[in-house]
């Protein structure tokens, strides 16, 4: 049976400011969902809250994977249950080699009961695997020896996120504006990479402003977020319509959420 990520009436605050005001969503393994919405609507907040960022406090509602409530769990526990976030702004970790980091992560994710200090996945097996994934993503093997995201270009960082996703094989992947700030070649590589990886075993939530990522990965569901709520859900046609026509009509249909969103945008601009 396929796994289910279930988000119920999720309320999230950052530094005591409520951002998400009751989000509901269900993602099954094998499905692709698009999450769209104007700036300040709470898309990234949802991504961080799902992954367990300590600064995003869940003040109400729940997140469940196959009926297990993970709302109180730490980020690493959620990752071991199969959740993955491709960061909009991947973090630089100086002095930590990509290969060492990924080998450690893979060891923990594939053996969720692994204790600190226990053996890592075999070096030979790991090397063969990461080499194959890097070749598929058109990455220079030299990257494995570089320090994590240190001195990487925007495109290299995003590709590194996709590589991690390929190695960790999550049940549920959230891509937070993975296509932003990239030139068209990089977007193509990332989009193709994702298309190769997603399949019956992965549920995907794509947060995006752009259409190209969705062209390669057509969503079964498109959700529109406004003022911390999901105000509309449709299919791929909705995504296409929003790209073509913007959010004006959505705002008109949901004036209360639109007003909330406007306030959030103003606060962010200060």
């Amino acid at each position: 049976m396929s796994s289910l990520l279930k988000i119920t009436d999720l309320h999230v605050s950052v530094a005591d400011t409520p951002i998400l005001k009751g989000v509901n969503m269900e993602i099954r393994q094998g499905e692709i969902h698009a999450l769209m919405g104007p700036n300040g609507s709470g898309k990234s907040t949802l991504a961080y809250a799902l992954s367990g960022h300590p600064n995003y406090s869940i003040t109400g509602g729940s997140i469940e994977i196959d009926g297990v409530n993970i709302t109180e769990q730490e980020a690493d526990e959620r990752a071991r249950l199969g959740l993955f976030l491709a960061f909009q702004y991947p973090v630089v970790i100086p002095g930590v080699k990509v290969a060492d980091f990924i080998r450690h992560a893979v060891s923990n994710i594939r053996d969720p009961d692994r204790k600190e200090g226990e053996g890592l996945i075999g070096m030979r097996e790991f090397r063969t695997e990461i080499k194959a994934r890097m070749e598929e993503l058109g990455m220079d093997l030299e990257f494995a020896r570089r320090y994590l995201n240190d001195g990487f270009s925007g495109g290299e960082k995003k590709r590194m996120e996709i590589l991690q996703m390929a190695m960790l094989q999550p049940k549920f992947a959230i891509l937070d504006e993975t296509d932003s700030g990239l030139d068209s070649d990089a977007v193509r590589v990332v989009s193709e990479g994702l298309a190769k990886l997603s399949g019956p075993d992965m549920g995907v939530l794509i947060i995006t402003h752009h259409e190209r990522l969705l062209e390669f990965n057509p969503p079964q569901y498109t959700h529109v977020m406004l003022g911390g709520r999901i105000v509309e859900t449709g299919d791929a046609a909705l995504a296409h319509d929003l790209h073509a026509n913007g959010y004006a009509t959505v705002r008109e249909r949901h004036p209360e959420a639109a007003a909330d969103n406007a306030r959030a945008e103003e606060a962010a601009a200060v």
């Binding site: 730490e74 980020a75 690493d76 071991r80 002095g95 930590v96 450690h104 992560a105 320090y147 960790l168």
Partner: protein, 471 residues
């Protein structure tokens, strides 16, 4: 005499792995506690030394007694010079085979991994246990090349000319109170001479082990790297965990002659009851390269500033240091570079980590003497503070008496960023694993300079320091 089993170890060892000790019942000789002319005379007599050395010791004692305690650095108010044993001899003499070393002492070195390392990748080993070297070896081909690697007491007996030419000339007893103390009661340490043009490919290693309670260990090391020669010397240090204090106060003198290269690597990991007050200085002559690689873990207080005097044009000096200050620890460490000649260059890279209320201080001096034009110096110190109870400070001193020089100093202090922790944790690493990984990355630029075996050891020690402490 038997090695205490781990479960009967002293209380309060915590995560420190090397806090065990052996019985001292069968020691060859133990001085009484305290320090005076009689004790100094006794040490000299035990060693059957020439009169000049006995006089040197007694003169040094006077200097030690006449000098005040330093008014800077760490807190030494609890250090009681009268509550220390200044000379403890565990065995009859130095052995050339581990089989001849008394069993419990041999087992101790086994637990420290020395015989195994010796087999795998070392050119020679000296093992000092309290006051004396109990085991020594040197690869045969190096002896044939004229390399000398002995304990310093043997060097005084067997190579008196070269010994006397250099001993006490780089760090005279007048230099500071603790150099005077060491000069009065020194025992053991390494003596190395590398003849012109000889290259020693694998490291020479010395291991300093304190075993007795209230012990003072005062090894004295003298190293001469002749013209165009090269070598790498590594020292490791550990001690048992006791509730009372021990003192380690070494003097290390080094000369690197024209075109020579020498690297001195320290991976010290003292237990938390050791005061570690060490004077280390090298003189580098024309086009020579001297490097200190200094890993400071453990101890209650470490005050150590390895110095390089750049004596002739083309001399280069480099110090890479890592300090890790944990609970109730103060690492006051750094480097000294003295440019005495034109066209000399130096580099200091210092990284410190403070955790669980520990304090790390960088204290460094770059000095350019009059006439030392066209010299370059680059200083980088980075501090990483792991929690709000811990502390880091920087005391960089620069004294320049010449116009035409290039001196750069950069310092940074950082805390482990929440975003770094979250990023790593979102990939399935626990908070402790993520912190350890960030710290390992922080020191990676230094650790990668170490030979692989020591890099592995260094990372392992850092991981031990990080274990079980987060969250």
């Amino acid at each position: 005499m038997s090695t205490d089993a781990p479960e009967t170890e002293e209380v309060g060892i915590g995560d420190y792995q090397f806090g065990f000790h052996d019985s001292t019942d069968d020691y060859e000789f133990k001085s009484r506690k305290g320090l005076d002319r009689e004790i100094v005379g006794q040490i000299s007599e035990m060693k059957n030394e020439p009169a000049w050395m006995r006089d040197f010791r007694l003169k040094s004692l006077e200097i030690f007694e006449s000098r005040p305690m330093p008014g800077w650095g760490g807190d030494m108010s609890k250090l009681d010079f009268n509550d220390i044993y200044y000379y403890m001899k565990a065995t009859k003499g130095q052995e050339r085979s581990w089989d001849d070393v008394p069993e419990d002492i041999r087992k101790t070195y086994d637990r420290l991994g020395i015989p195994e390392a010796e087999k795998k990748f070392l050119s020679g080993v000296k093992a000092q246990y309290d006051s004396e070297v109990v085991y020594g070896s040197l690869k045969e081909d190096l002896s044939k090349d004229g390399v000398l690697f002995t304990d310093t007491d043997s060097a005084l007996r067997e190579h008196p000319e070269i010994f006397r030419e250099y001993f006490g000339t780089i760090i005279p007893p007048e230099d500071n109170k603790f150099a005077a103390l060491n000069s009065a009661v020194w025992s053991g340490g390494s003596f190395i001479y590398v003849p012109p043009g000889v290259h020693i490919d694998f490291p020479l290693q010395a291991y300093f082990r304190i075993n007795s309670q209230n012990m003072g260990q005062f090894e004295r090391t003298l190293i001469i790297v002749d013209e165009g020669a090269s070598a790498h010397y590594v020292e490791g240090c550990t001690a048992p965990t006791y509730s009372s204090d021990s003192l380690h106060s070494a003097v290390v003198e080094i000369v690197v002659k024209r075109g020579g290269r020498f690297r001195y690597t320290t991976i010290q990991n003292w237990s938390n009851n050791v005061y570690n007050l060490v004077t280390k200085r090298a003189m580098a002559y024309g086009d020579a390269l001297m490097e200190w690689v200094d890993g400071n873990l453990g101890s209650r207080l470490t005050m150590k500033y390895p110095a390089i005097y750049l004596m002739e044009p083309g001399a280069r000096g480099e110090t890479l240091s890592i300090a890790f200050a944990g609970d109730h620890q103060h690492q006051d460490a750094g480097a000294k570079m003295v440019h005495c000649a034109p066209d000399t260059s130096s580099r200091i890279i210092s990284k410190s980590i403070s955790k669980d209320g520990g304090r790390s201080s960088y204290r460094g001096l770059v000095k350019v003497e009059d006439g030392a034009h066209h010299c370059k110096s680059n200083v980088v110190c980075d501090a990483l503070i792991l929690d709000s109870d811990s502390k880091s400070d920087t005391y960089p001193y620069i004294e320049v008496e010449e116009q035409d020089v290039a001196i750069e100093h950069e310092a940074s202090v950082s805390k482990i960023a929440e975003e770094q922790l979250f990023y790593l944790m979102s990939r399935g690493l626990s908070e402790a694993e993520a912190s350890a990984m960030i710290v390992t990355g922080f020191i990676e630029p230094l650790v990668k300079e170490l030979p692989m075996e020591y890099a592995v050891e260094m990372n392992r020690l850092i991981e031990l320091q990080m274990e079980g402490s987060v969250g």
